[in-house]
C-alpha cells in the first residue's frame, strides 16, 4: 500500500491518554485506594551481608499491625523475571530473607490502618543480626576465599553450587580467532568501564493488593508485564491463575525498572493474605534506589583489522557486577555478545562473559540491556581505529557495518534472523551532511579554556526478541479485537505503554487496517483475566511485536466483517474494498466499481446483531519470526571547559531508522528522551558505595545521585531529529521499534566528541568534571 494513503499511520494525533494525563485524572498504582485498605512498610537490612538471628514483632503487633517475617512467607526461591524459558532460569530470591545480601534487602514487613501507624510499628520490630563479611568488587568476589553470597542457587529445577560468586558465564565462538588475528595487520586492545546507574523512574515501585473471598488476590502494580506478575504470584503463593488477577494501570516511567516482578509485589500480597484486608505498599525514593540499578560493565575488547579498515577478528571479555541477585544475567551475556557482533562484521570472534555476585543492589535491565555498555566500547574503538588508519570514522563504519540481507543475532546466539530494512547508509551520509561533518571534524589540537569538539556514534536495538526458532527467550503477544454495533472498535491487549505511546501506535494499526477513524478506536482497560498473554513491554518490542499481533487479529476481525458485509451487499468478500469516511465518522465497505453498493462498518455490525449473526470479534497470538534492528546514529557537539572540567553538550543530531514512523511526535519524543538519558549516562549518573557500611553514598537521594535537569541540555533549536525513509516488510505497516535504540549510541558519540575537543580518550563513564580535570592534569604532566 502507498504510504500516502494511510489515514492514521504516520499522522500526528493527540495521545489517547493525553487529556487524562494533563488534567491529573490518570490513575497510577500510587493513586489506587480501596475500602478498608491497610498501609504497609518494609523492614530492610541495615547491613550488606548478614544472617538474621531473631526477629521480634510482638511490640509492633500490640499496636494492631499485621507483621510478616521470612517464616510467614512461602519458603521457595524464585526468579523475579521469567522471560527466559524455565530450564535456563536462575533462581536465587525469596519474598523475605533470613540472609540479607545487600543493604535494603527486605527482611520483614508490617501493615496497619494508617501509614503513620505502620511506620510506628516498623520502628518496634526488633532484629538481631549477625554480620557476615561482604564483598563489593567483582574481581575481589571471584577470588578464592572471598565471602560467598549464595552457596547454591536453582538453575531450572536443579540446585547447583555457586563457585567464586560467578552467577552465570558464557563463551561464544564463531570462526577461529587465532587465525583471524594472524590475518590482521593492526591489532589493538582497550578496556572500558560503565556505571551503575539508577533508573530514576518518577513513580516509585508500588503495589496495591486485595485479597478476594475465594482465596484469590487482585493486584495493581508498577509493571511492564501483568501476565508474568500473575504467573509468578500464582507459583509463589500456590494460587490457581484463575484466582490471581493483575490489573493494568498507568505506569509512571520504567526504563527497565519494572521489567521483573518488583520485590514489593509478593510482600504486599503476603501481607494482604495474612491481614485479610487490602494492602497498599508504596516504596520511598530511598527504598526504590536500593531495589535495582543498571548493569555496570567492565569490557576488554581486542580488535584486529586490515590496513584498509576491514575488521577481521575480535575478542571481547566482559565482567558484569550484578549485585546480590541474578535477575537475568545469563540472557544478558548472550545479548551483549549479540549487540557486539551485530554492529560490525567479524569473521572470527570470541566472547567470554561472566556475571558476578557482590553485596550491592541487584542490577537489572535498564534501557538497552547491555547494549549501551557494548556500544560505548565498540564505537569508541571504531573512532580509535579510524584515527590510527587516518581515515574518516564514518567511512570506517560504512565499510564494516552489518546491514541489509545479512544475518544478525542482536538478542543473543539463539535469536538469529535476517535484516530486511536498513537505513544505516542514509543516516550516516545525510547526518554527516546536515551537521557539516567534513568541515567540523578535524583531528587537530584545540587551544583555549573552552574547547569545542564533534563526535558521532551509531548503534541499534532489536525490535523484540523474535526469531524463526524458539530459542531461550519467550517472545509473543496476543490481542482481542471487537467491532461494536456503531462501527467503533475496542481492542484489548496486555501490552503496557511505558509512556512512549505504544498503545497509540496500536490504535493506529487497528484504525488503518479497518479504515475506521482513529477516534473510533478504543483502548480497553484490561487485566490478566480479560487478555491473552503478552510477554512484556521490553526489548523495544511494543509496536513491532505487540502491534504485529494486533495487526494479525484485526485482520481476522476484518475477514469476518467482510463476510457479513458480503451477505448484505450480495457480492463476494474478495470483491469488497474499504475506505475511511472521516465526515461520517465511519469505516466504509464497498463493492469496487459498483455504484451504490456501499455500507458503513457500523451498519454491518448492527445488521449482524439484529440478524443474530454474532459479534464481529477475533482473538489470537503472534510470535514474530525476526527482530529487525532499529538503527540509530548521533552526532553530538560539545564544549569542554578545561578550567572546571564541565562538559556542555551544545548541539545534537539524532537520525533514526524506525521503519515506517507511526506516531511522529511521540517517536521524536523517544529520541529526545533517549538523548537526555544517554547524556546523563555519559556525563553524570552512577551509584557508589561506602564499603564500610555497604550503603549508597547518595543515601538514596536523587539530588546526591545527580541527574541532568532541564538546564543542562542543548537548546531546543540545537537538537535535530530525523527519520530514514525505510519500510520493514515484516512489521505492521512497515514499522519497527525505537525506544532503546534511541539511547544506545549516545555515550560513545559524546565520548568521541570530548576526545575531538581535548584529545583525552575516556574509556570510563560517567565522564565527570573531576575525571576531566584529572585527565587534563595527567596530559600536562606527560607533555612537561
Amino acid at each position: 500500500m502507498e504510504k500516502s494513503q494511510y489515514h492514521a499511520i504516520g499522522k500526528t494525533s493527540i495521545r489517547k491518554d493525553g487529556i487524562s494525563k494533563v488534567t491529573g485524572h490518570e490513575i497510577y498504582t500510587t493513586d489506587v485506594v480501596l475500602p478498608r485498605m491497610f498501609h504497609a512498610r518494609v523492614l530492610r537490612s541495615s547491613f550488606p551481608h548478614a544472617t538474621i538471628k531473631t526477629i521480634d514483632t510482638r511490640e509492633a503487633e500490640k499496636l494492631g499491625a499485621v507483621c510478616i517475617t521470612p517464616r510467614d512467607v512461602p519458603n521457595l526461591r524464585y526468579a523475579e523475571r521469567i522471560v527466559t524459558i524455565p530450564s535456563k532460569t536462575f533462581k536465587d530470591r525469596q519474598v523475605l530473607t533470613h540472609t540479607p545480601r545487600h543493604v535494603g534487602e527486605a527482611i520483614a514487613a508490617v501493615a496497619a490502618e494508617t501509614e503513620d501507624l505502620a511506620e510506628q510499628a516498623l520502628s518496634l520490630v526488633r532484629v538481631e543480626y549477625e554480620r557476615l563479611p561482604a564483598v563489593f568488587d567483582p574481581f575481589e568476589a571471584m577470588k578464592e576465599g572471598s565471602p560467598l553470597l549464595h552457596r547454591t542457587i536453582l538453575f531450572g529445577q536443579d540446585e547447583i553450587k555457586v563457585k567464586n560468586n560467578i552467577a552465570a558465564s558464557r563463551e561464544i565462538v564463531e570462526g577461529d580467532i587465532e587465525k583471524g588475528f594472524k590475518e590482521a595487520e593492526i591489532i589493538f586492545e582497550e578496556t572500558f568501564e560503565t556505571g551503575r546507574v539508577y533508573h530514576a523512574q518518577m513513580e516509585p515501585k508500588s503495589v496495591v493488593c486485595q485479597p478476594e473471598a475465594d482465596g484469590g488476590i487482585t493486584v495493581w502494580t508498577t509493571t511492564q508485564t501483568i501476565h508474568n506478575v500473575r504467573q509468578l504470584l500464582g507459583e509463589i503463593f500456590n494460587i490457581p491463575l484463575s484466582r490471581v488477577n493483575v490489573k493494568k494501570v498507568a505506569l509512571g516511567g520504567s526504563f527497565g525498572s519494572s521489567i521483573q516482578m518488583n520485590s514489593v509485589v509478593p510482600i504486599g500480597v503476603a501481607l494482604a493474605l495474612k491481614a485479610r484486608r487490602p494492602v497498599k505498599l508504596v516504596s520511598s525514593r530511598e527504598e526504590d534506589m536500593y531495589d535495582h540499578c543498571k548493569y555496570p560493565s567492565w569490557i576488554q575488547l581486542k580488535l584486529g583489522a586490515k590496513r584498509d579498515g576491514t575488521l577481521v577478528a575480535g575478542h571481547m571479555k566482559v565482567i558484569i557486577d550484578i549485585g546480590a541477585h541474578n535477575t537475568q544475567a545469563y540472557p544478558l551475556l548472550g545479548c551483549m555478545a549479540g549487540w557486539w557482533v551485530s554492529l560490525y562484521r567479524l569473521p572470527h570472534l570470541k566472547f567470554e562473559g561472566r556475571a558476578v555476585y557482590t553485596n550491592k543492589v541487584p542490577a537489572c535491565a535498564m534501557q538497552g540491556f547491555g547494549n549501551p555498555q557494548v556500544t560505548f566500547a565498540v564505537e569508541s574503538m571504531m573512532d580509535m581505529l579510524a584515527e590510527r588508519l587516518e581515515i574518516d570514522p564514518i567511512d570506517l563504519r560504512l565499510k564494516n557495518y552489518v546491514g541489509l540481507g545479512e544475518t544478525f543475532w542482536g538478542q543473543g546466539p539463539t535469536v538469529k534472523s535476517i535484516i530486511r530494512s536498513c537505513g544505516v547508509e542514509e543516516m550516516l551520509r545525510k547526518g554527516a551532511e546536515l551537521v557539516g561533518w567534513k568541515d567540523k571534524f578535524k583531528r587537530e589540537k584545540k587551544e583555549g579554556v573552552i574547547r569545542r569538539g564533534i563526535g558521532m556514534a551509531r548503534g541499534f536495538h532489536t525490535s523484540g526478541a523474535g526469531a524463526p526458532m524458539a530459542g531461550e527467550v519467550i517472545d509473543y503477544s496476543g490481542s482481542i479485537v471487537k467491532i461494536n454495533e456503531d462501527g467503533s472498535v475496542d481492542f484489548l491487549t496486555a501490552l503496557m505503554d511505558l509512556g512512549g505511546g505504544t498503545l497509540d501506535a496500536l490504535a493506529k494499526i487497528v484504525a488503518e487496517e479497518l479504515k475506521v477513524p482513529l477516534d473510533k478506536v478504543g483502548i480497553s482497560p484490561v487485566d490478566t483475566r480479560t487478555t491473552v498473554y503478552d510477554v512484556a513491554t521490553h526489548a523495544t518490542r511494543g509496536i513491532y511485536c505487540g502491534g504485529g499481533a494486533l495487526h494479525k487479529v484485526t485482520g481476522q476481525a476484518k475477514t469476518k466483517l467482510l463476510e457479513f458485509a458480503s451477505r448484505i451487499l450480495q457480492a463476494p468478500p474478495h470483491s469488497l474494498k474499504m475506505e475511511v469516511d472521516e465526515e461520517a465518522g465511519q469505516g466504509m465497505v464497498y463493492v469496487d466499481g459498483v455504484q451504490g453498493r456501499r455500507i458503513s462498518v457500523g451498519e454491518v455490525a448492527k445488521t449482524a446483531q439484529i440478524n443474530n449473526w454474532g459479534t464481529i470479534a477475533a482473538v489470537d497470538s503472534l510470535r514474530q519470526v525476526s527482530c529487525p534492528p532499529c538503527f540509530m546514529a548521533y552526532f553530538i557537539e560539545v564544549e569542554v571547559n578545561t578550567e572546571t572540567g564541565v562538559i556542555k553538550p551544545t548541539k545534537a543530531l539524532a537520525y533514526a531508522d524506525v521503519g515506517q514512523v507511526v506516531n511522529p511526535d511521540l517517536a521524536r519524543g523517544q529520541l529526545f528522551g533517549g538523548l537526555y538519558r544517554g547524556l546523563g549516562y555519559a556525563l553524570l549518573e552512577d551509584t557508589q558505595y561506602d564499603e564500610e557500611s555497604g550503603e549508597l553514598t547518595s543515601g538514596g537521594w536523587i539530588t546526591d545521585f545527580k541527574m541532568l535537569t532541564a538546564n543542562d541540555l542543548p537548546e531546543m533549536d540545537n537538537i535535530e531529529v530525523h527519520f530514514t525513509d525505510t519500510y520493514e516488510p515484516t512489521g505492521p505497516f512497515g514499522a519497527k521499534g525505537i525506544g532503546e535504540a534511541a539511547l544506545n549510541p549516545v555515550a560513545a558519540a559524546l565520548a568521541n566528541a570530548v576526545y575531538n575537543a581535548i584529545g583525552v580518550r575516556f574509556k570510563k563513564i560517567p565522564i565527570t568534571p573531576e575525571r576531566v580535570l584529572e585527565a587534563l592534569k595527567g596530559m600536562e604532566k606527560r607533555n612537561d
Binding site: 487529556i19 494525563k21 488534567t23 491529573g24 525514593r285 538523548l675 532541564a710
Partner: protein, 157 residues
Amino acid sequence: MKKQITLTVNGVKRELFVASNELLLNVLRDHLELTGAKYGCGIGECGSCTVLLDGEPILACLTLAMAVDGSDVVTIEGISGSDGRLHPVQESFLNHGAVQCGFCTPGLILTGKALLDENPQPTEGEIREYIRGNLCRCTGYTQIVKAIKDSSVKGKA
C-alpha cells in the same frame, strides 16, 4: 492532635481537620481525593507534587497543611475551565507531544503556568531555569520547553 483549617482548593472553600504532622500533599490526595499531585520522592527532590499556593508553585510534600491555613490552593484538577476546556498550557503539552508517562506532567504544567502568570514572554533560558526543579525522566524536556514557550506565544496573540 487534629486541628481545623480552612483551605480554598480549586476555588472551593474547604474546612478540614488535619493532624499537626500532616502534609499538604496527603491532605489533597487522601482527604480530598485529588490525586493529580503525585508522590515521587516525599522529600522535595522531584517536583511531582507541585501545586500552586496563592499562585506560587510549591512542593506539597514539604508543606505542612496547618502552616498554610487560610491559603488558596490550585491543583492540576483546577486549571481547566468548568466547561472542561483545557488551560492553554495543558493544550500545548498535548500538541507538542510533551506528555509521556505523565507522572511529572501535573507538576510541570502547574510550574509552567506559574511562570507564564509571572512572566508572559519568557526566554528559553528562563523557562529551563524555572522548571529545573521538576524532574522528568522520559522526555528530555525538549518538547516540554517548546510547549511552555508556545503557549506563551499563543497567550499573547
